[in-house]
Symmetry: D2
Amino acid sequence: MNTEKRHKLRSRINRIRGQVEGLGRMVDEDKYCVDILTQIAAARSALDTLGVELLADHLEGCVVGHGSGSEHHCAEPMTREQLIAEVKTTLSRFLK
Amino acid sequence: MNTEKRHKLRSRINRIRGQVEGLGRMVDEDKYCVDILTQIAAARSALDTLGVELLADHLEGCVVGHGSGSEHHCAEPMTREQLIAEVKTTLSRFLK
Amino acid sequence: MNTEKRHKLRSRINRIRGQVEGLGRMVDEDKYCVDILTQIAAARSALDTLGVELLADHLEGCVVGHGSGSEHHCAEPMTREQLIAEVKTTLSRFLK
Amino acid sequence: MNTEKRHKLRSRINRIRGQVEGLGRMVDEDKYCVDILTQIAAARSALDTLGVELLADHLEGCVVGHGSGSEHHCAEPMTREQLIAEVKTTLSRFLK
């Protein structure tokens, strides 16, 4: 992952941390359940967007770029079949 | 929400905040994308569990308990039809 | 469930069956994967909307209406605590 | 998509159609809402598994295989950047 991409992901994660801290404050202040639920749904959507972003980076950098020498940080050596099987497993954790 | 329930929700939220901070560290340390994605899916599941917990509290305290005098913190006065319509809208934010 | 509600649910289900049959045709005709995926996402959303609709009916007819004599078809006799625990389990099947 | 893969997808879709038809019968027979909801969640999971399967085929056949001559049915000519952007859009329809 290059510096710009990492910076972008880091900003997303910081925003999500802020949303989760906001949830804590809402519970402390005994806010209306439905308003808290709306914020939970928003944090969940933000995590999904982060996941889609990161998966696309992975496809670009490790799966498609496989064998091109650009995949230096892509974990242990894998064949493309193994990489695609791994993407399937990963997606199944989101869609189940 | 009584003190015990609030405490339980607060613990869940603290754990989720810890998970999100862990995501930040993984990005900083340039961990393998697929491992980060697995952690994102875990944080997302934890948010879902929190949502289900809170919705059940809401059903118990505000929707079912409606009119029993127990619903003192349940936002503005609503009819049960309005409360159920509100639950539908809330669920649609998670399931869409 | 009254006749009007059942009719409405039946129409939704018929539409979803049509969407799933459409998916079969797309595979037979070797359509572009991404177009099939878009249709899968649409059928999934339609199932979610059906689920939210049905859950709201259940809350109205069985959980809130509990003890009012309107819940004649609401399975075996349960306490409200049991009904709410059952709703939690059911929601967990969608949000996990 | 080769014949074996298409046959496998077709079987999955037929099973899902059967599940949706089962939902229709459950509504006709006025089954308990919670049992219908459990079946809706099962059909939804089956659609998700179908989606993950198809997306992996797409990654293998069109995105990774891009430029290798194997992608004859992969819609109009696209660059890899466009293909990955398309995968992001597609995933966002599931995770939102």
